[in-house]
Symmetry: C2
Subunit: 112 residues, 2 copies
């Protein structure tokens, strides 16, 4: 898709959704598969339970994350990406590639 310099409201909406503090990290972490709340919390250094709850709710409302409740006893709740969320894999991969090329010290750089 050509980037033609005209303002794109959908791009703006996307960048604000994914760019919100921890939203990108949550999306990236869930690319590996569904996780429980406590597993997600441990995977993202510095996130508080409150922030994780808020971000997960936003990502659910945006249709990027789905909350699954398994009817075990006690119930097991997991969070996973929807198709819309998994479709962000190329965005996540390109951003990670850029971050390793331009932000990381040389020993972490992307081998291209």
């Amino acid at each position: 898709m050509a980037v033609d310099g005209d303002f794109c409201p959908y791009f703006q909406q996307a960048v604000e959704l994914i760019g919100r503090r921890y939203s990108g990290a949550i999306t990236r972490t869930l690319m590996a598969g569904p996780l429980r709340f406590s597993e997600l919390e441990r995977s993202i250094p510095g996130i508080s339970a409150r922030a994780l709850t808020l971000r997960l709710r936003e990502l659910e409302n945006a249709g990027i994350v789905a909350r699954q409740v398994e009817p075990t006893s006690p119930v097991r709740v997991t969070y996973e990406l929807t198709d819309k969320g998994r479709a962000l894999d190329d965005v996540v991969a390109e951003l990670e590639h850029w971050a390793h090329d331009w932000l990381a010290p040389a020993e972490h750089a992307h081998a291209s």
Copy 2:
């Protein structure tokens, strides 16, 4: 690059830099070439001069945008992407692709 679920501090740094309000839009707009402050301001609906100044300074400090002063009279100041900034083209393109596929109404969807 594999997305392996381990927390990546460089990814986190990148997503927070680009995801800050308007930073993504500024970066995307400058992909088409250098612009003056007033041109940038007009290109991004709703941005204030103050917010644009702050974001440009952050992007300059991050090495993504360069401020060029041409010694004309009056001086002409333009903003352009550095190599590091231009290297975000694939990130911008993938995010725009996703936004058109998943956020835009069907008539704006990416033709793949």
